[in-house]
Amino acid sequence: MATPQQQQSLKEPVLLSQEGNEVQKTYAAPKLCTTDLNFFYGSFQALRTISINIASNKITAFIGPSGCGKSTFLRTMNRMNEALRNTRVEGQVLLDGQDLLSMDVNDVRRRVGMVFQKSNPFPKTIFDNVAYGLRVNGIYKNSVIEEAVETSLQHAALWMEVKDKLNKPASALSGGQQQRLCIARALAVNPEVLLLDEPCSALDPIATLKIEELLFRIKDIATIVIVTHNMQQAARVADYTGFFLMGELIEFDDTRKIFQNPGKKETEDYVTGRFG
């Protein structure tokens, strides 16, 4: 089984690995690309010169101990950190080769969706939750909205469970269903990238499994980046995995390599549980 030679700061297009034993030598432009990204909360530097290429229509996972900067990194890619006071970002983030940091922020967030650690359905009906993103982005035509709601709920593997109670409040759903609703809500605006910030940390194993299954299915329509504290989860779902420690990206490679044959001592310590 060959693994593409990847460096942690890839300037050139990423080499995509394929199922099976062959590596197809096609170069795809990365969906997201950061160069020397630094991030500060006041004087505290949370990210240190992160350079990475994230492959299109793949699942990329970031692991690392609490406070290592993985969530901060995720939130830089849809600029959610800007809502916080007294923060500063340096470096470059490219989305499809365009400078993400100088784009219209609402536009960025529409294109780069996000699912949060704790499910956060709005105090509205199930239907209105999924329709919300369309409406705030200026789509009011009912037929379009209805179709998008159904499609998104199908993607999130929630349609069969909620199709008869679309007008019920979202708070009536279980925790796992609420999180899938949030995924459906994010998918409804048709994002190119979907960021997931520890989406299963509050869920039971069955609900977690459902979400992992749906991630496999939606990677055809969106590039997926997931932050998780659960290494097994990264090993199960991700094509590529990055390891963060103290604000630095220690290693970024094919998931199998990270878990079976890591290149750095720190990574090995962490994935084998010898860390800390």
Partner: protein, 283 residues
């Protein structure tokens, strides 16, 4: 050891009893007030009170229909002036302001809240009544409206703050502009608190008398429009209570009963709603 623990317990029961007595006396005042108003006011209340004009001096009977309508008009104006400014100011504090400016606005709001109501009356007299040349429902509304602003600001800010950050982030992450997230998610989630806060605010100014003395003044007759001196329930209670006529005292009790019922009802409804939580988690 045993005697010290006995003593400890005795002191504990004694203080439980003493502080409990304080509470009983405090809460008891409410029943004292209610009892007297129901007794005197209920007895003096009649259909005529709600439908007739005040009787001329020396005659018995009559009512305070004009003061009931007058209070309604002045409060309507006050709400129309005070609530929009207070609500938007609260939104500013909760959603938009920086640290320094929010301190300034919050501090001036507290200051305005602490200004004695009679002083508000003087200022509105000097600023509005004097230039206009006459007392009116309009100026009464301005005075009460100013008094409504601080509470409206603080309650709006408080209830918006109670909305979880995760909801705001959820909306922003879908590409909603900030104002859209506020209008479509944050404010609807806080709406119960904000409406209840407004009711409490209204209840507070509904009983205000002092600022109306030099603004709406009073009137023994109907005052159509917004530009005439206008009778209001609190001012009527005051003038009737200090007048030397037995029948007017009766009327003052009746008016007090009506006013207190209105104020307490508003309070009870608002507080029961608030007790169910200020952040709406259901659609």
């Amino acid at each position: 050891m045993a005697s010290s623990s006995l003593q400890k317990n005795l002191v504990n029961y004694l203080m439980f009893g003493l502080t409990g007595l304080c509470t009983l006396m405090t809460a008891g005042i409410l029943f004292f007030i209610l009892g007297y108003l129901v007794y005197h006011g209920g007895r003096s209340l009649s259909w005529a009170f709600f439908t007739q004009l005040p009787a001329p001096v020396g005659e018995t009977g009559g009512g305070m229909a004009n003061a009931i309508i007058g209070s309604g008009k002045v409060l309507l104006l006050a709400t129309a002036i005070g609530i929009p400014i207070g609500f938007l100011g609260g939104v500013y504090l909760s959603e938009y302001s920086g640290r320094t400016l929010s301190f300034v606005v919050r501090y001036t709001t507290d200051l305005l809240n602490g200004v004695p109501s009679i002083v508000i009356g003087i200022v509105v007299y000097a600023l509005v009544v004097h230039p206009m040349g006459h007392f009116s429902a309009l100026t009464g509304g301005v005075a009460l409206g100013i008094m409504m602003i601080p509470i409206s600001v603080r309650s709006t800010e408080e209830y918006l703050h109670a909305v979880p950050v995760s909801l705001r982030e959820g909306a922003l992450a879908l590409g909603a502009a900030k104002w859209k997230a506020i209008v479509t998610v944050v404010i609807p989630a806080a709406v119960r608190g904000i409406v209840s806060g407004t009711m409490l605010d209204l209840a507070r100014v509904a009983g205000e008398t002092a600022p109306l003395l030099f603004t709406a003044l009073s009137n023994q007759f109907w005052s159509p429009g917004w530009n005439k001196p206008t009778a209001t329930l609190p001012v009527m209670i005051f003038t009737y209570a200090i007048a030397p006529y037995e029948d007017w005292h009766r009327q003052a009790w009746a008016a007090g009963f009506v006013l207190l019922t209105l104020v307490l009802l508003l309070n009870i409804i608002a507080r029961l709603a608030l007790a169910r939580g200020t952040y709406v988690s259901k659609a």
